[in-house]
């Protein structure tokens, strides 16, 4: 009898969890998003070098319009790669554990993630438009951090620590204009890989 009640309680807990949170999110999604950002960041570093900019020795980095559009394109490619990998591993995980993907929890999570991201995207486009290139990297980190914290209620709640770290990193980088690439690689590359590995181990 006791056994049945214990199972009842476990069942209740698990049904509440799986219906209100998007728990198919795979740690591997984070790892591969991080790797995409890392490779993209290194590519940009290489790009600077080719264009005669020594990232770590030149004091002021002035970007030409041509280079900016190249950087912008790189950013878009990284975003698409991260998204495709993210979706792939998450769909794989949900198939494996027989979890429904397109639930109201998923929709809520995506909506909560999207609001700060879209606002941040517009903000960054405006920065580029007005020529404040140095503020773009810190802003992407800050808005991404806010988006993650905002989505925390509808997925693994540990994700908020990632959000806070991105936010803090973005805040610091605001005061070190010109080092955006380094902060960007740490925030989107390294933090994602670490987060992904931790999550992968924890929720395997």
């Amino acid at each position: 009898m006791n056994q049945k009640h214990q199972e009842d309680l476990a069942h209740i807990r698990s049904m509440m969890e799986r219906s209100s949170r998007f728990i198919s999110l795979s740690g591997l999604s984070g790892v591969f998003a991080g790797l995409s950002a890392l490779i993209g960041g290194l590519y940009v570093y290489q790009l600077f070098k080719v264009n005669g900019i020594e990232y770590f020795t030149d004091d002021h980095i002035l970007l030409s319009g041509n280079l900016v559009s190249h950087l912008f394109l790189t950013g878009v490619v990284i975003l698409v790669c991260a998204f495709v990998f993210g979706a792939f591993f998450t769909i794989r995980k949900s198939r494996k554990y027989n979890l429904p993907i397109w639930t109201s929890a998923t929709k809520k999570m995506l909506f909560n993630l999207a609001v700060p991201l879209v606002a941040g995207g517009i903000f960054c486009l405006a920065l580029i438009y007005h020529g404040y290139f140095g503020l773009v990297a810190p802003s992407t980190l800050i808005f991404y951090g806010l988006a993650v914290i905002n989505a925390e209620k509808y997925t693994f709640s540990d994700i908020k620590y990632l959000g806070f770290l991105e936010l803090i990193l973005g805040g610091i980088s605001l005061f070190y204009i010109g080092y955006g690439l380094i902060f960007w690689i740490i925030g989107f590359g390294i933090l994602h890989i670490i987060y992904g590995l931790v999550m992968f181990k924890k929720y395997k």
């Binding site: 009898m1 006791n2 009640h5 214990q6 009842d8 309680l9 069942h11 209740i12 807990r13 049904m15 509440m16 799986r18 219906s19 209100s20 027989n98 429904p100 639930t103 109201s104 929890a105």
Partner: protein, 96 residues
């Protein structure tokens, strides 16, 4: 009367427990989503849902989205209270 007798008979089935658990943490949940969440058949969900509706623990809404009918469920205040009570008895049983 022992504590076991106080357990709500309406919640004895795993499916009903599942339906109530999902509704406790969500607003309106539609038939298809409930079915995939609980991993049960149409008939199974329909019969348990109507039993819960009869006890006035859940509210059923039927509407048309385009030409397709859609059934959604929501927990009532009575259902919420009954389920909470059931949960606290279960927890007490675990402790004793």
């Amino acid at each position: 009367m022992g504590i076991i007798d106080k357990l709500n008979k309406d919640f004895e089935s795993r499916v009903r427990l599942g339906i109530m658990s999902v509704l406790m943490v969500n607003d309106w949940v539609d038939f298809t989503e409930m079915k995939t969440l609980l991993n049960i058949t149409d008939g199974n969900l329909a019969s348990h849902a109507s039993a819960l509706e009869k006890s006035e623990y859940i509210e059923v809404k039927k509407e048309f989205v385009g030409k397709k009918p859609r059934t959604s469920y929501q927990v009532t205040a009575l259902g919420r209270a009954a389920f909470k009570e059931h949960l606290s008895y279960l927890e007490k049983l675990m402790k004793s």
